[in-house]
C-alpha cells in the first residue's frame, strides 16, 4: 500500500469504468445487432488515438476538441468496413469464424499502417493540464480522468436516449430482435446494419482518443482494450446501458484492486484471466439474453 487509501482506489476505478463502458458498448452494439464479433475493435481504438495525436501535433487541436473529427473519421471507417467487407460474408453462426478472421485481417492492416506512418515508438498526447489535478471530496482528482469520465457518461446517456427515443434507434433495436420481421414493416435492414457498424466503430474511435489523453500508446494499443471490452460485454449482457456500466465498474474495480495483491506488471493479466473465467463459467449467459434497450 504505497500510500493508497481505499477511497482513492474506488474513485480511480469509477473514473476508469467510464472509459471502459464506452469502448465495450461499441463492441456489444455491433455484436447484438449484426451477430458479428468485431475483432477490429482494438484496431479502431488505436486509430482513434493516432487521429487525436495527429490533430494535436499538426494542428494544435486539444484532444478533447478533436473528438468530433475522430467520431466522423471512425464512423466513416466503420461504414466502409461494413459495406466493403463484412456485408459479403454469411452472418450469424455460420459466418462467425469467417467474419472474425476477416476483421482480424483488417486489424493487422491498420496496425501495420500505423507502424509505417508513426513507427512503433510510444506516443503520448501532452497538454498543459495533463498533470493537473483538482481537490474534491478530500482527494486530488486528475483533471484528465474527470473529463474523460464526464464525456463517457454523456456518451452513454446520449446513446441510451438515441436507442430508446428516436425512430432510427428503435429500428436498430428492432433489427437486433428480428431482422426478418423488420423487412416486413419497411425497415431497411441493410442500412441499419451499416449504421450500427458505423456507430459501434465510432464508439471505439472515441474510446481511443479518450484513452490517448490518459495513457501512452503505440500501434499495438487497443488489443488489451479489445479483451477488456469482451469481458464487459460478456459480464454485462448485451446492449443494456446499465449492465454495461455495472460490468465496466466491476472490471475496473478488480483491475485497480489487483494492485494491492499482485506485482504491478501482472495486473494486465487480470483482465485476460477474468475473460477466460467468465466465458467458461457463464457460457449459458454469454453475451446475455437481453435485447437492446
Amino acid at each position: 500500500m504505497q500510500g493508497f487509501s481505499i477511497t482513492d482506489l474506488v474513485v480511480a476505478s469509477v473514473l476508469l469504468a467510464g472509459l471502459y463502458a464506452t469502448m465495450a458498448y461499441g463492441l456489444g452494439l455491433i455484436y447484438g445487432v449484426l451477430r458479428v464479433v468485431n475483432l477490429n475493435h482494438g484496431g479502431v481504438i488505436m486509430a482513434g488515438a493516432y487521429v487525436g495525436l495527429v490533430m494535436h501535433e499538426k494542428l494544435g487541436v486539444d484532444p478533447y476538441l478533436s473528438i468530433p473529427v475522430v467520431l466522423v473519421v471512425s464512423f466513416a471507417l466503420g461504414i466502409a468496413i461494413y459495406v466493403g467487407l463484412v456485408r459479403h460474408l454469411p452472418r450469424g453462426a455460420a459466418g462467425g469464424v469467417q467474419s472474425l478472421l476477416l476483421l482480424f485481417g483488417v486489424w493487422l492492416v491498420l496496425q501495420n499502417a500505423a507502424y509505417l506512418l508513426f513507427t512503433g515508438n510510444d506516443q503520448t498526447i501532452r497538454t498543459e493540464y495533463s498533470t493537473r489535478s483538482i481537490p474534491a471530496f478530500g482527494l486530488f482528482l486528475s483533471v484528465n480522468r474527470l473529463v474523460v469520465f464526464v464525456i463517457a457518461v454523456l456518451t452513454m446517456v446520449v446513446l441510451h436516449l438515441f436507442l430508446t427515443r428516436t425512430f432510427t434507434g428503435k429500428a436498430i433495436r428492432a433489427v437486433a430482435q428480428n431482422p426478418d420481421s423488420c423487412t416486413l414493416v419497411g425497415i431497411d435492414v441493410e442500412r441499419i446494419y451499416s449504421l450500427t457498424f458505423g456507430i459501434g466503430t465510432a464508439l471505439a474511435g472515441l474510446a481511443g482518443v479518450l484513452g490517448a489523453s490518459l495513457f501512452s500508446f503505440n500501434p499495438t494499443y487497443g488489443s488489451g482494450d479489445l479483451l477488456k471490452s469482451f469481458v464487459i460485454v460478456v459480464l454485462g449482457g448485451l446492449g443494456s446501458v446499465m449492465g454495461t456500466a455495472a460490468a465496466a465498474l466491476i472490471l475496473a474495480l478488480v483491475e485497480v484492486f489487483a494492485i494491492l495483491v499482485l506485482p504491478a506488471y501482472l495486473t494486465g493479466a487480470v483482465g485476460f484471466v477474468l475473460l477466460v473465467l467468465v466465458l467458461v463459467l457463464r457460457p449459458g449467459g454469454l453475451f446475455g439474453q437481453r435485447v437492446l434497450g
Binding site: 478472421l101 485476460f272 475473460l275 466465458l279
Partner: protein, 338 residues
Amino acid sequence: MKLLPHWVSRPALIALLAALAVLAVLPKALGLSVYVQNLFTETFLFVAAALAWNWMGGYLGQVSFGHSAMFGLGGFVSGRLLLAPHLPFPLAWIVGGLLAAAYALVWGHPTLRLRGPYFSIATIGVGEATRLVMTYWEEFTGGSSGLSLPITPGLKSELYWWGLLVMGAVVAASYALRKSTLGLGLLAIKSDVDAAADVGISPTLMQDIVLLLSGFTVGVCGAFYASYQNYIEPGDMFGFRTSISFVLMAVIGGVGTILGPALGAVIFVILRQYLIGSYPQLYLGIYGLLLIVVILFEPLGMVGLFFRVARRFGLVRPEVQAKAAVGGAASAREGGVP
C-alpha cells in the same frame, strides 16, 4: 496390402516418402549454402506447427489465437532441460512437448466447450495472460532478457534432418487424423456437435485428444525453435504475433487441408525473409491483406484457388473439390451461444 490400415492410400504414402527422400538428400546433392539450408529448416518447423494448429482450427473448426502458449512453454521447458541437467536435445524436446500438451489440456478442456468465435476470444485471453506471467517469471524464462542456450557446433545444420523428421511425422499424423475413424469423428463434430454426440461420438474426448496432440506438437516445435535459435525470449516465444502466424499460415494456405497449411508456411517463411530486413512490420500487414482476400474470395485459401484453376482448365473433374471446409463455413448450425 494388409500391413496398412484401409484408409491409407498407397499413392499418397509413396508421394510422402518420395518427397521426404528427395528433401533428405537435397542439401548434399545440390550443395545448398548454409543460408538456404537454414531457410529450409525453418520452413519444416513452421509447416509442422501450422499443421498442428490446423488439427484444431481446420479439423475441429476451433480457431485458436493462443497457440503461442504451448510454443513458448515447449521452448522454455526444453531450454531449461538443455541448460541444467544437460539432457540430449531430442529428449528435452519431448519433455517440452509433453508439458505443453498438459498445459493445453488445462486451459483447453474447459474452453473447448465454447464454440466458434467465443473459443477464439477465450484463446486470446489465454495466450496474453500466459505471456505476461511468463515474462514476469524470471527464474524460469529469464524475464525480458531471455535465455541463451548452449551452442553445440554443427547442431544447426544437423537440425535440417531433425526438422524433416518432425515435419514428416506431422504430415503423416495429419493424414491419419483426416482419414481415420477418429478423423471422421472430428469432421462430424465440426459440422454439428450435437448431432455428432447423438450418434455416439464423444465431442469432449475427441476434442481433448486433438488438443493434446496439437499442444504436444506445437510444444515440440517451440523446443525445436529454441534449439535452432540458441536464444529465446518470452515476449517473442509467447507473443501474440507467434500465435497469429500459425493462424495466418493455415488460413491463407487452406484451412482444413494438409497441403494448405504447408504451403502457407512456405510462403510465410519466404515472405518474412524478404520483408523483415527492410520493413520489419510490413510482412504482417501483407498477411492481413492476404487474409482478407482469402476470406472474401476463396475460403479454402491457396488450395481452393488451385482446385478452382485446375477445374477451369479441365485438369481435374468438375466434381473434385478440396475436401475440407473453413471453420464455420460448413458448421452452419453451430450455435452462437454454446
